[in-house]
């Protein structure tokens, strides 16, 4: 297994995802002799994991069971240990497409943060591309290097510990795309331009505040970037639910034993798409929005160097 290549069976040293159910999962480092505690009991790596197929059901000591999943950047994003606020797959998806990333692309990124976007970028540019990621926090940079090693992708990424606003990305004229998620991106636009290939490339800056966006757009214009475009994207999730609504009792018309038009006790009632399992209710399937959703992550500004 690796984050850039699917494998069929769980091996010693793999990072696997333990799925316990609705919204409940966590990553685990597979190791001979190790034991992992879950609310359904214990998982013994040597007997329960190693050699099993990814996607298998594993019964834990208390009788409950879990599924063991192959890692993907998307699952990693949902389960990685946060050292900073991270980017989620919704933003990552549009970034990937708008920067026109694909196998072989050379990308520059700053800041590395918790490595959420980094893993996704590495997956997209593999096997022939490369990610140059810059992080000014020494421990975070080191932790990122460690994780990339553990996940078998260190050959696809170079982590540099420096301040991108002062010293740039450490490379010049080779990148197809540059991504910025830093407090003052306008200070790095010049460095971004020199990191990009002479023939052209794409740039993206992510900022939570509109004031940052305004400064960044001005800087992009000053440095000759074109096609400057700012957008925001949000995910709307729906829960699939079977809903039952009661039919109100509107009484009967005078001297009339027949019921009102909406007679749910008549199974052949026209237009009634749902089974009436109980008198006085109508059932239907609905995609119900969540009560609380993410209202804002950040503004994404894209531009082209030509």
């Amino acid at each position: 297994m690796s984050f850039v290549e699917y494998g069929d069976t769980i091996k010693d040293g793999d990072t696997a995802i333990v799925f316990l159910g609705h919204e409940s999962m966590f990553p685990v480092k597979v190791q001979h002799g190790t034991v992992t505690q879950t609310k359904y009991g214990v998982i013994r790596h040597s007997t329960d994991l190693i050699g099993k197929k990814y996607g298998s059901k594993v019964t834990c000591s208390k009788g409950g069971w879990v599924f063991i999943l192959h890692p993907t950047p998307e699952l990693w994003t949902m389960n990685l240990p946060h050292r900073t606020q991270i980017l989620y797959s919704t933003d990552i998806s549009i970034i990937t497409m708008m920067l026109e990333l694909k196998p072989g692309s050379i990308v520059c990124e700053s800041g590395t943060g918790s490595g959420s976007l980094s893993h996704a970028l590495i997956r997209t540019v593999a096997p022939t591309g490369h990610l140059y990621t810059v992080e000014f926090h020494q421990q975070r940079a080191e932790k990122a290097r460690e994780e990339f090693r553990e996940h078998g992708v260190e050959h696809l990424v170079t982590v540099t510990n420096q301040d991108v606003c002062k010293n740039g990305f450490g490379v010049s004229n080779i990148a197809d795309a540059v991504f910025l998620d830093i407090p003052s991106p306008w200070e790095a636009i010049g460095h971004a331009k020199s990191a990009l290939k002479a023939e052209g490339g794409r740039i993206c800056s992510f900022s939570p505040c509109i004031e940052q966006v305004q400064r960044t757009c001005l800087a992009m214009e000053e440095y000759g970037f074109t096609e400057i475009n700012t957008l925001e994207i949000l995910l709307r999730l729906y829960n699939v639910r079977t809903i039952s609504l009661q039919i109100p009792d509107l009484g009967k018309a005078a001297e009339d034993n027949s019921s009102t038009g909406f007679d749910s006790s008549n199974p052949s009632h026209q237009g009634s798409p749902c089974a009436n399992l109980q008198q006085g209710t109508v059932q239907f399937k609905s995609g119900v929005p969540l009560r609380e959703v993410v209202g804002h992550t950040g503004y994404l500004t894209f531009a082209t160097k030509s």
Binding site: V4, Y6, D8, F19, L20, G21, H22, K53, G55, S56, K57, F67, L69, H70, T72, P73, E74, S89, T90, S93, I94, T96, M97, E100, K102, P103, G104, T124, V125, A126, P127, T128, D176, K197, E199, G200, G201, V213, Q214, L218, I228, N229, T230, L231, I233, L234, L235, R236, L237, Y238, V240, R241, I243, S244, L245, K285, S286, G287, T301, S306
Partner: protein
């Protein structure tokens, strides 16, 4: 071989995309071929050899000329008003008439100069606020300074173009929704993907771009053959198509039940489909000749010069060309050629069937006009466990049913029904705000991950799966309030 770089130059035969502000159009780069785009006629000849991304101006002779970098001279403090309380919009403030402007254009006066003339001849210009003057100048520039950028096709460019111009052809799949599909589906180099789409080949092209020529794709198709009109726009190198297979939906049931055979295949539709496939990027010769038989689209509504938009149209064109070539030449050679083609076709079909039978695909992408449930229930059988799948539907309701049926089937977890919300912004000093128009909807996605299917204990795994997937408060009885 894959192109990670942007250093590509415009070559004859390429599919290029013309861009002017937010308007795109895909065209074939051919010499002495008149192009019409945004009310302008020109030839692409002079563009050949330039780097993609170059911006051109249209000269009076209909030729393209790279646009020179022009110094913005309007930096001196302009006279401007404070608000519009005294500005009356009576349509009489511009002193130049239509004829005057036409005369300027005919004289060959550059757009920049025309805009300057319009400003000087506007009685209200100096009363407008600075912002209003800015807006006025931008509007006039857009109309009179016609610059065209020639960009290299990519998923970003083509998905934006199709959504703006011909959303019906792609089931109104908005480009950000497509972006979600590619990431949720973990599309990357080396995958063995199953793709089923009726989006003119746009989704297939997007998947191919993200796979970079590595791995393999089996495209499932309805009817006689897959439509790959948009796919050919991407300009993938030939080797990308070596591992692209196709398989008819009409044979899926037989494959799943073990009764699949190539003996009962109708010859004619497949022959035409084969020809269509060839012309969709495999045989350059054929593609060029087909393009020549198709006349230049007379309206800007036409998407591209490639005539293979609809399967039917393509069949007719292919037949025409083939029959013209074979008129009166019913020689043994031709018959034998047809037999070889048919044999090759059968061979490819068997290869695709063998690939599917392995039931170890790394993912499934569905984006079609058909009801998603039967597609999902059957095609998921070919996917390995612990792999993502994503289904797109223009409407939400069929996905509700799909979700329910998948729950009953089992073997899937982490089911998510989602919709992506997208908003564009205008960012200018003191004038930043979301743009005035917005897309009302870009379709819906149902995604999930496969797991090992427990066929033996379907009942118990059912209730267990329900227990696993929905929080216990949701398992309400019917007497309870709606849950």
């Amino acid at each position: 071989a894959m192109e990670g770089g942007r250093s590509a130059r415009i070559r004859e035969g390429d599919c290029a995309v013309l861009k002017r502000d937010e308007v795109f159009k895909a065209v074939s780069v051919l010499r002495r071929r008149k192009i019409i785009f945004e009310k302008q006629w020109f030839y692409l000849d002079n563009a050949i050899g330039h780097i993609y991304g170059t911006t051109f101006e249209v000269t009076s002779g209909g030729n393209l000329q790279p646009k020179q970098e022009v110094e913005e001279t309007t930096t001196e403090t302009k006279e401007a008003g404070t608000d519009n309380r005294n500005i009356v919009d009576d349509g009489k403030s511009q002193k130049l008439t239509h004829d005057d402007i036409k005369a300027l254009k005919d004289k060959g006066i550059k757009g920049q100069e025309i805009v300057q003339q319009l400003i000087e001849n506007s009685t209200t210009f100096r009363d407008k606020t600075e912002f209003a003057q800015d807006k006025y100048i931008k509007k006039k520039k857009k109309k009179y300074e016609a610059v065209i950028t020639i960009v290299k096709p990519s998923t970003r460019i083509l998905s934006t173009m199709y959504y703006a111009r011909e959303p019906g052809k792609i089931n109104h799949l908005r480009y950000d929704t497509l972006a979600q599909m590619l990431t949720l589906g973990n599309i990357h180099a080396g995958n063995k993907m199953i793709v089923m789409e009726t989006c003119a080949g746009l989704v297939l092209g997007a998947v191919m771009e993200r796979m970079g020529g590595y791995g393999s794709i089996i495209q499932m198709y309805p009817g006689g053959g897959p439509v790959r009109a948009a796919t050919s726009c991407f300009g993938f190198p030939k080797p990308f198509f070596d591992n692209l297979h196709e398989f008819p939906l009409s044979k899926v049931q037989s494959l799943l039940s073990g009764t699949f055979t190539t003996e009962t295949l109708p010859a004619d539709p497949e022959e035409n489909a084969l020809v269509e496939e060839e012309s969709n990027g495999l045989t350059e010769e054929k593609q060029t000749s087909l393009l020549e038989t198709e006349e230049e689209p007379t309206t800007e509504a036409a998407m591209e010069i490639n005539p293979a938009e609809e399967q039917d149209t393509m069949d007719i064109n292919a037949e025409d060309v083939e029959f013209k070539e074979n008129k009166g030449k019913e020689s043994k050679e031709n018959v034998r050629e047809k037999q070889i083609k048919q044999w090759e076709r059968r061979k490819k079909l068997l290869e695709a069937a063998a690939l599917l039978r392995e039931k170890n695909a790394d993912g499934l992408i569905v984006a079609s006009k058909f009801h998603p449930t039967p597609l999902l229930l059957s095609l998921l059988e070919f996917v390995a466990p612990s792999r993502p799948f994503v289904v797109y539907c223009q409407y939400k309701e069929p996905l509700l049913e799909c979700y329910t049926k998948l729950r009953e089937r089992g073997g899937v977890i982490n089911l998510k029904l989602s919709e992506s919300w997208l908003r564009n912004y205008q960012v200018l000093p003191d004038r930043s705000h979301p743009k005035l128009t917005m897309s009302g909807g870009g379709g819906y996605l149902l995604s999930g991950i496969t797991v090992v299917l427990d066929k033996g204990k379907s009942d118990s795994s059912n209730s267990e799966a329900l227990k696993m997937e929905e929080p216990s408060s949701k398992r309400c009885r019917l007497q309870d309030l709606p849950c």
